[in-house]
């Protein structure tokens, strides 16, 4: 029973980080209907940015968060403006494939300049483990989760209470109506892509504290994010948040009950079952 509780807690912790990553993806999806298959690679870049800041300048990953957020935000906007926007008017297939292209490019470029080696950040400001009534809590993981929650709520607040944020929500709900209202949807697209990447940049900094960092780390995270977004409901940010936790728990608990090797398969199965029963996901419309 204790073991199960441990798995549950670990699942929630990782799930919260997943939530943050998935929120970025669902934002991009909801606003411009683009499946960003390169999402995991942006995460990878974020992780590497934190790594290099730590290794070369001694900056603790937690302090790299603002830097990551801005850097990835700019990168995202750049990629939207010069690549993604060009395929928006084309066939759906091209939109699906272009982000695959970007992901392959980024992952291999990273492998090329940084080598495919695994790296990790050694001692961070907040490290170690806590022991609370038989449960082992890794401090970096707890900090990551808290960071995730804070960032997510910051985003919720931004979307609901700022002018730009509301514009983003408007476009997400009804693009044409927003256009008629005078909202510059191209600019919103670009901003949303940037924000989605920025969120992942933050996630990267948080994960870098306790996760292996290597050029191909993005692949699995990317796939898991899709499942989360689908489970939560495409375009629903609250849905992505909740679904992230569910998937995190399903992964750890499922891996514990069945076999750790099947952790991912369980996540994918959850996605399939969700879209069969409720195509719009838990909270989607």
């Amino acid at each position: 029973m204790e073991m199960l509780a441990q798995q549950l807690i670990d699942g929630v912790l990782i799930g919260l980080v997943y939530s943050l990553l998935a929120i970025g993806l669902t934002l991009i999806w909801g606003v411009m209907n683009v499946v960003n298959f390169a999402h995991g690679e942006f995460l990878m870049i974020g992780m590497f940015l934190s790594y290099w800041l730590y290794t070369l300048a001694g900056v603790d990953p937690l302090f790299s968060i603002p830097f990551n957020a801005v850097a990835l935000f700019l990168l995202g906007m750049f990629i939207y403006r010069f690549i993604i926007s060009k395929v928006m008017t084309g066939p759906l297939l091209a939109q699906l494939v272009v982000t695959f292209g970007i992901s392959i490019f980024l992952a291999n470029f990273a492998a090329f300049i940084w080598t495919p080696d695994y790296r990790e950040i050694g001692h961070t400001l907040l490290s170690g483990t806590w022991h609370i009534s038989g449960i082992i809590l890794s401090v970096p993981k707890v900090v990551s989760s808290i960071g995730s929650i804070l960032t997510s709520f910051a985003l919720f607040w931004f979307l609901r209470h700022s002018r730009t944020g509301k514009a983003i929500l408007a476009v997400e709900m009804d693009r044409e109506a927003a256009l008629i209202m005078g909202i510059n949807t191209e600019r919103i697209n670009s901003l949303s892509f940037g924000i989605g990447c920025g969120l992942v940049g933050v996630g990267g900094a948080l994960l870098a504290t306790h996760y292996y960092i290597y050029p191909f780390v993005g692949g699995t995270f990317g796939l898991i994010c899709f499942c989360i977004v689908a489970l939560g409901g495409f375009g629903s940010i609250e849905g992505a948040f909740i679904a992230g936790i569910i998937v995190g728990v399903a992964q750890t608990v499922g891996g514990y009950i069945f076999d750790p090797a099947y952790k991912l398969a369980i996540v994918f199965l959850i996605y399939l079952i969700t879209v069969w029963i409720r195509p719009q996901g838990l909270l989607g419309w």
Partner: protein, 320 residues
């Protein structure tokens, strides 16, 4: 769908003659590239039936490819079943798997279908990766029997492999053309446009989608079985991964996702490019070839999203 003109017949004949002579003229590595090109061309043609025509963008064809490869190999190694029969068995099992996943996904379209296909393929890959009976992560090494047509193994030369895969590709092209010019082709295109329109026209959408998926899976599995007999080693990491599925989609997309011959053109461009660039640039494991590959895919999506075939036919039209 159009009548074949005399000119087309001559051009076709010339191409055919060239194709038959080609394997004899090139070095073994070239033959290898040719074989891999034909394998992917075949998979691309198979993809087109469900993706290009019916709008079911599958990014999980590797699952069928792998199921085909594993079925024929397993039957050979465990029960001494001839690979020719194993090939058909692989196709059947793949089709059944396709129906099993296709049916619940009958209402999924566009992105949702794409991701479902990825989820399905990953589940299959993970299972095979942990399934001791088929070698789990270590895969299967197909025994090198005495070289013969019956054994589907040729040790001394790649030539027979070249001609067999070209024959398979031809079969796939014929099937694709038959589908495209028949009732099924029309119905699939209607389905791609809208399920409602198709239903009003009397199309049983669920049934026709299943037909398309099953045919596509069968042909892809055949290619997988061939691959197993050619390379003589298969494991989930080489035959069932997402990269293989993506490559198949690219081949179809680059060539022209709505045409019969498009994937052949697409494969002819993409595969030699990736094989040769890997040979020349990827030797240090630096993945430089993949960087270019990624950039290439991105560029194609941006500048030639409907594929090369359309551009070629337009060029030919203009010259008339």
């Amino acid at each position: 769908m159009r009548n074949i003109t005399g000119k087309q017949l001559t051009v076709g004949g010339a191409v055919l003659a060239l194709v038959i002579i080609l394997p004899l003229l090139i070095v073994p590595f070239g033959q290898h590239v040719l074989i891999i090109t034909c394998i992917f061309a075949m998979c691309g043609v198979a993809w087109n039936i469900m993706g290009g025509y019916a709008g079911m963008f599958s990014f999980g064809q590797a699952a069928f490819f792998g199921i085909g490869a594993y079925t024929s190999s397993f039957l050979l190694m465990t029960f001494n079943v001839s690979p020719w029969i194993g090939l058909v068995a692989g196709g059947i099992i793949s089709s059944l798997a396709a129906a099993a996943i296709g049916y619940p996904c009958s209402n999924l379209r566009g992105h949702y279908f794409a991701i479902a296909s990825i989820a399905f393929a990953e589940i299959v890959r993970i299972f095979f990766n942990n399934w001791e009976m088929v070698g789990a992560a270590e895969g299967l090494t197909i025994p090198m029997l005495k070289g013969s047509l019956a054994n589907f193994i040729f040790n001394s030369s790649k030539l027979p492999y070249c001609y067999i895969i070209m024959a398979f590709l031809l079969l796939a092209l014929v099937v694709c053309r038959l589908v495209s010019t028949s009732k099924m082709g029309y119905y699939l295109r209607a389905i791609k446009e809208s399920h409602e329109v198709a239903q009003v026209l009397g199309v049983n959408v669920v049934r026709y989608r299943l037909y398309a998926i099953m045919i596509s899976a069968f042909l892809t599995a055949m290619a997988g079985s061939f691959y197993a007999q050619y390379i003589l080693y298969i494991d989930p990491a080489s035959v069932m991964i997402l990269a293989v599925s993506v490559q198949i989609v690219l081949v179809a997309m680059l060539g022209g996702a709505n045409t019969v011959l498009g994937p052949v053109v697409g494969a002819a461009i993409l595969i030699p490019f990736s094989e040769y660039s890997r040979a020349w640039l990827g030797y240090k494991g630096t993945g430089f070839d993949m960087i270019i590959y990624g950039a290439l895919i991105t560029a194609i999506s941006m500048y030639r999203p409907s594929g090369v075939w359309g551009a070629i036919t337009a060029l030919v039209q203009r010259e008339k």
